[in-house]
Amino acid sequence: MNPAELFDIFGTEVFLAVLALVLIVTDLLDGGGKLTGASEKTRFVTYAGLGAILVSTFFLEPYGDGQFGQLDSFAIFFKQFFVATALLVMWLAAPYEVRFPAGRGEFSMLIVFATLGMCMLASCNDFATLFVGLELVTITLFMLAAFRPGLPRSIEAGIKFVIIGAVAAGFMVYGIAFIYGATGSFDFAVVHDVIVSSEEMPGALQFGLLMLLVGLGFKLGAVPFHVWIPDVYQGAPTPVTAMLSVGSKATGVLLMMRLVYSILGEAAGQWTALLMGLAFLTLLMGNLGAIPQTDLKRFLGYSGIAHAGFLMLALATGSQDSANAILFYMSTYLFANIAAFLVIVVVSRTADNAHMDRINGLANRSPFLALVLTVSMLSLAGVPPFAGFFAKFMVLRAAVDHGGLMPVVILSLVMVVVGLYYYLCVVKRIYMREAVDSSVLEMSGWTRGLLLLCVVVMFLFGIYQSPLVDFARAGAASLF
């Protein structure tokens, strides 16, 4: 691969790598040897850098296949998604950063490195790129989950995440070894050719793909690989939980889409039953698990598993409509989650935990925050005027068209009602309970701005979806 081709495909990644290195130097020069570093300057560099990179992704032109990567409209969509996520997470982290005893400069740097890995995954067309990119994301997130070593729960989240993540990586490499053994190549296109040209998939290949599914299911948070999600979400610092719940889940979604639409392609029908079963279990586990939760971050973890179930249902459908639906779903999920986690950051400031009691009586303490959290919960639940409703509608419409998925469609409809129950329980706490803590909730103008942005996006794309639908359709077009 010559340098020009490298830059055409991995340009965004090169910029992100440079930004991360600049952040290290900025932190070093400005921190004066103190561990806490100078958060002001590094934060400014992070915002400016990520903002510039986000703008640059809108000028990317599809390039096609290279030796280690590809740049199609699907990859570009996800690069935009990941850089936007990183920017929103850093924005969300601004009021939280004071709680880090050390390493504020490194925090921005690690988020940028995780984003770099995610963007790499968006362009991968080779199992080597996939493995390296996935591990870059996972290992940086291990560090970020344990970023507050003074808190036992952060350490616990870190150690649980490391062990389960490393086992998932082991399964994935073992799977890749067998895929290589059966096809003689790490290239997605070659693997795809072997799959569609053979009457029956060779046993080694089938085994390899199933092992790969373990690794991807871990990222996506699909049952039975979801066990880490509640613990890690609860224990990790809140901005990191936001990154995990949006960015990390999106990498799982993206790779599952590549697996189902590009690698399996025409043979995806063989996997419908398997994906349908996983979707069934994931929907059941996520929704029923969310009901008894008393910690907001843990609650959002289970809610995330439930959403992964919806995405699995769309993947099992395997049609072009479902691919559009997945991209739309992820975009609405991004804003709903960022809003919810930012409210958690603000309300948990005094007690430093996210127990649900913290939002009791929020309507009296801050009507604005109450409104934001309510809109976010209703959007996640899929209540009509908000974007989340249309996302669920698109997934279900694609699944109904498929026909063979009826049992899961019916279950998912029941689960939407169950979801409505537990999301409305949160809303009930906001409006009907007495506050346990009536101190004034302070917010900077920037925080208000981000909350307002999320609410506007959730509301606007709920009533006027076509721009986002077109954007998602353009993104998914290159898969077919």
Binding site: T138, I139, E156, Y174, A177, G184
Partner: protein, 106 residues
């Protein structure tokens, strides 16, 4: 004569041993050793597949062997981070037993 299957049986055995180690050991360091054993089983399978790969135009590209370098490098990074977290765990909670790390549940 040693065939591909023999290497694969060995690799499967090593992988299973590693997985058993992860699930049954209670010491974090030994759990991490189990993970390393799983990754090495995958490396063994990659190299064995490469060795017995049918040549195309008389050559076999050493792709599997190159992939092993990626795996080794990534495993080293992973274990470095894991050990840092294990040290932090020991300093904060005074234990390296995974059963004692169970404050977050349900």
């Amino acid at each position: 004569m040693i065939q591909l299957e023999h290497y694969l049986y060995l690799s499967g055995l090593v992988f299973t041993l590693g997985l058993c180690g992860v699930m049954m050991r209670r010491n974090v360091i030994l759990v991490l050793m189990g993970v390393e054993i799983m990754l090495n089983a995958a490396n063994l399978a990659l190299i064995a597949f490469n060795k017995y790969m049918l040549p195309i135009d008389g050559i076999v590209e050493p792709k599997g062997q190159v992939f092993v370098f990626f795996t080794i490098a990534v495993a080293a990074a992973e274990v470095a981070v894991a050990l840092v977290i294990a040290v932090a765990l020991f300093r904060r909670l005074d234990t390296v037993n995974v059963d004692d790390v169970a404050n977050l549940r349900w």
